[in-house]
Each structure stands twice: as structure tokens, then as C-alpha cells.
Amino acid sequence: MKKYYIIARNTWDEMLTYRVSFVMWRIRNIIQLLTIYFLWQVILPPGKTLLGYSQSLMLTYILGTSLIDSVVLSSRTYAVGEEINSGNLMNFLLRPINYFLYWFSKDIGDKAMNICFSIAELTLIFIILRPPFFIQTNPFYILFFVFSVILSLFIYFFLNFLLGLIGFWSPEVWAPRFIFITLLGFFAGSLFPLDILPKTIYEILRFLPFTYLLYFPLKIYLGQLSFLQIASGLAISIFWTFAIYFIVKATWQKGLKSYTAYGR
């Protein structure tokens, strides 16, 4: 569908008009990344292991989260709530366009830009720091890794969209989002691998969708999961993908009903 391609392209162009702020934001990301990177390098000297992680595995995990972060955990759907509140949603309801796909296309444009920058940054880090990077060669793991990343992309998109839909009922769309972002930083495993947590806590996290956003795909990449673990993990993420999709769909229908009945 060409219209969605153009939406993605326009989003890309739009980002280019704010080059400076985008570059600044990326620099912030790099600094954040380097902080965690050096921290782990000190905690885990070469040759030692911590809770089953050697230095190279841990550093790969940390750099990997950064890459997936920019592919998966970037979504522009935070603006959905504002559009509902400002009444701009009307513009979409009156045009033959799918609002979900509209935002998904915007996200694709956004992600494409972020992927380009991430790859450039990681290459730079790779050349300068020469980290002992773990490279997965087993195509079986790589395949499941990619599949799992795609699932997490959808989970994150729907979760974010859902948060935006709060706008149908309340103008305060930001407070829930801040809580969400904070929870996410912890539960998705962007600071450390989740399996270094006590086993009981991890067993609970395993059933939440957040685990499958970063931690799970990277564990597959590192080749640390058995086939059974991969299968059950994928099953849980597929379940969440559909569950959240249906929740978003139902919420959208309900919100639209009140929107069109009460007007704005």
C-alpha cells in the first residue's frame, strides 16, 4: 500500500527537520550505553563469570539491548492521546485510512532512522573499544531471535497505543506513560539480564509481556536457552501479542463510541 509507504517516508523527512535534537538524543543514548558498558566491564573482568555470564556475554547483552531498544522500544504512538484530546483524530476518521496502520507506518519510518544511527554508533563503539563481542553462528538461534524481535515489536506497539487511548477518557495521558516507562526499564531487562534476579521473581516476570521485549530475544541470540525454553517463551509472547491486540481493538471501539457520541 503506497499510502503507508508515504507516511513512513514523510515521518523520516519530518525527523530530518529536527536533525540537531535527534543527534543530541542519540548522543544521550550513547553516553547511557557507555556508562552501563564500563560498569559491567569493571564488575566482570575478563576470565571471570557472574551468575553464568562471562564478560563477553554480558557486554554482548548490553550492546544488544541498545540495538533492539532502538528497533523495538521506539514508538511515536505517544501522540495518539494528544490527538484524541485535541480533536485532530477527526481528520483521520474522515479519511479512508486505517488509524492503526497510519501509526504503524510512522513507527516504521521512525525505526528505520533509528536503526541506521544505531548501526553507525555500534560500529563506532566496536572499532574504538574492540569489545569481546559474542557472535552467534547457529542459524537456528538467529532465526528464532529475529522472529522474537518481530513479536516484541508488535507487543510494544500495541502497549503504547493502548496507553495513548487513555486520551478517550482522560486528558492526563502522560502520568500513566511515565509509570510505564519506569516499569519497562526494569522489567524488560535493559539494565541487566533478568535471570540474575532471584528465581521466584524471575518466574513471575516470565509471564509478563515486558520480559519478551528485550531480555528474551537477546537470550535466544546468546544461545543460552534450550529448545523447550524458546518454544514456551515464543508461545507466551505470541499469546501476549494477540491478547494486547484484542484489548487495543476493543478499547479503540469503545473509545470511538464515546468519542462520536459525545463529540469534542
Binding site: 508515504i6 519530518e14 485532530n88 477527526m90 476518521l93 474522515l94 479519511r95 479512508p96 457520541a261
Partner: protein, 328 residues
């Protein structure tokens, strides 16, 4: 029949909040709802190619009606048919044939030039290249927009942006066009241009247009037929000329005297609305206009005399206030 509305009503549940923190807390626990009847039981029919002025004071229900017609609001009661569709279904075929332009809502991409939004709309509406090019050229010429097509929207002035919003909204050449305050915030020259454009569009595309506006000049120059709405009800539906006859069957006669005239002598001329030497303004029934004018010319020292139609604003005001009184 392009548009047919029968017994349309739209009520809103609006929740009431007392001012202040205590009011906010109260409303958290105990929400009071009040039903607001934005539109109650209105009916009208509009034929293809008509250009209708939809007027009424603030909060009369104009925008609500337009939203119902375009499918944004679900009617509480009544039936609407636009181009044979039920608007609320928002079928793709329906959406491709209509447009709602709201003076205060924007669809242009803020950081990009307008042409990018047009190209996106071209794909959204599935317009073929050839047809797009023709319409694009034509609209560019009609709106005199050649120089601003490639300037980022954020750098355009309000008037330029309105032009571009309008162009983005009608690039798919809709058969039915709803315009909500299209001239709001524009200067006199731009208003005039926009009016000329709408007139031209109406003729060239055989489009049916409903227009709401606070500027009576918009209505006067564009619309043969007007629908006046107040308190959610239609109080007049008909030709603009009939409205004038019905509510203002008089002409405005202004006279400038050369010498001082005794006001008492003027009394017998009829209903004097204002006399401040040397200027006299008098409202004369249409039938008596000739005799009154000639008697003034004969009996008084006149410097200048003009006969005008009453101002449309005055008439509308009269309609509103009469309705207000009836309400009370």
C-alpha cells in the same frame, strides 16, 4: 437529493463540575450529568449543487449538525442520508466523496511543505495521476498558491495555511463539502478570494456545499439559500431574498440635509430610526419607498439621498432576538 435529514436530534451528556479543588473532589465521587440538547428535531433536504449558508449564533448546533452529516457523531435520533449513505458507517466510498473543513483543525504535516500532505492524500484517496495533476493545477491556480506549495507549513502565515488546509481537504474533489468557519482569522482580501474560490468550485465541480460562518458577507455573497438555526432548532429555511422580505420588508433611506430641519416636521414621514443633523436614517416599507422619497425631495432641502437594502447583519440579529423572546 444529495442530503436528506429528517428529525435529527443530538443530545450530549455533559458532566458538571463546581469550581475549585473541592468541586473537583466532589466530581470524582459524585458526577452530575446534564443533558444538553445540541440539536433537536431538525429536518431539511438539499439538492445537488446547492450552496447553503448554515447560520446561527455560537452554540446553536451548527457544528454538531455538520459532524452528524459527515459521520463523526452518532445521532441520538433521526435519519440522515448523504449521497445515499448513512454517514455514521463511514464507508470508504462515502469518505472519498465528502470533506469537512474546520477552520480550527489542521491536517497538514507541520514540519513538511503542504505538497507532501497533498501527495499523501492522493494515495489515501486513491486518485489517479492524471486526475490528480488536473485538479492540482486547477486548485493551485484558483487559490493562487504556486509560491507556497513547497514551503514548510510552520513557516506559512495563517491565511496561507488556511488556503493549504482547504486545498488538502478538497484535492480528491469531493461532491459534498462541509465548511465550518472557513474564513475565520482571514483578512478581508483573503476572505474575498476564498469566497470567489468556493463559488467557482461549486460551479465547476457541481459540488454541494454547506457553509457555516459568522461573517454575513460570506453568506450574502455565496448562498442563495440559508438555514438559520438557534437553540438546536431550525428557525428559517429558504431563499435569502425571502428572509429579507419576511423579516425586513423595508428599505433604508438615508438623507443628508442642506439646511437645518425641524425634527417635528419629519415625524409624519414614518418610522425614524436615527436623526442627527444633517443625517436622517429612516426605515420605509417597500411599498411606500417611492412616495416617501419624492415627498422628502419635494418638501425638504436635500443634499444627498440614498436608498439601501437593510444590512443582512441587522436582519439576522432581528431573527435571533425574536427567537430569544419567544423562548422566554
Amino acid at each position: 437529493m444529495t442530503i436528506s435529514v429528517s428529525h435529527l436530534s443530538k443530545h450530549f451528556q455533559v458532566h458538571q463540575k463546581e469550581p475549585g479543588v473541592i468541586g473537583s473532589l466532589k466530581s470524582l465521587v459524585l458526577r452530575k450529568y446534564e443533558t444538553v440538547k445540541a440539536v433537536s428535531d431538525i429536518s431539511f433536504k438539499i439538492n445537488e449543487g446547492e450552496l447553503i449558508g448554515f447560520i446561527g449564533p455560537n452554540g446553536a448546533g451548527k457544528t454538531t449538525t455538520l459532524k452528524c452529516l459527515s459521520g463523526l457523531l452518532y445521532p441520538t435520533n433521526g435519519k440522515i442520508s448523504v449521497l445515499g449513505f448513512n454517514p455514521y458507517d463511514r464507508k470508504i466510498e462515502f469518505l472519498k466523496k465528502i470533506a469537512l473543513v474546520m477552520g480550527q483543525k489542521n491536517q497538514l504535516w507541520w514540519d513538511l511543505p503542504p505538497i507532501d500532505t497533498f501527495l499523501l492524500n492522493k494515495e489515501i484517496y486513491g486518485i489517479e495521476n492524471e486526475k490528480y495533476n488536473i485538479v492540482f493545477e486547477e486548485l493551485t491556480k484558483l487559490l493562487d498558491a504556486k509560491d507556497i506549495l513547497k514551503v514548510p507549513v510552520k513557516k506559512l502565515s495563517l491565511g496561507q495555511r488556511m488556503k493549504m488546509e482547504l486545498m488538502a481537504s478538497i484535492i480528491h474533489s469531493p461532491k459534498v463539502l462541509f465548511l465550518d468557519e472557513p474564513t475565520i482569522g482571514l483578512d478581508v482580501l483573503m476572505q474575498k478570494k476564498l469566497r470567489e474560490f468556493l463559488k467557482e468550485y461549486n460551479i465547476r465541480f457541481k459540488a454541494t456545499i454547506i457553509l457555516t460562518s459568522h461573517y454575513m458577507a460570506d453568506v450574502e455573497q455565496l448562498c442563495k439559500r440559508v438555514i438559520i438555526i438557534n437553540f438546536g432548532k431550525i428557525i428559517f429555511d429558504g431563499q435569502l431574498s425571502n428572509l429579507i422580505e419576511q423579516y425586513a420588508p423595508y428599505k433604508k433611506l438615508s438623507v443628508i440635509f442642506r439646511e437645518y430641519v425641524d425634527p417635528k416636521k419629519l415625524d409624519k414621514l414614518g418610522n425614524i430610526s436615527n436623526f442627527q443633523y444633517p443625517k436622517l436614517i429612516i426605515n420605509v416599507p417597500n411599498k411606500k419607498i417611492n412616495s416617501t422619497a419624492s415627498s422628502i425631495l419635494k418638501n425638504f432641502p436635500v443634499e444627498d439621498i440614498t436608498i439601501e437594502d437593510p444590512q443582512i447583519e441587522d436582519i439576522i440579529e432581528k431573527v435571533y432576538t425574536q427567537e430569544d423572546k419567544r423562548k422566554k
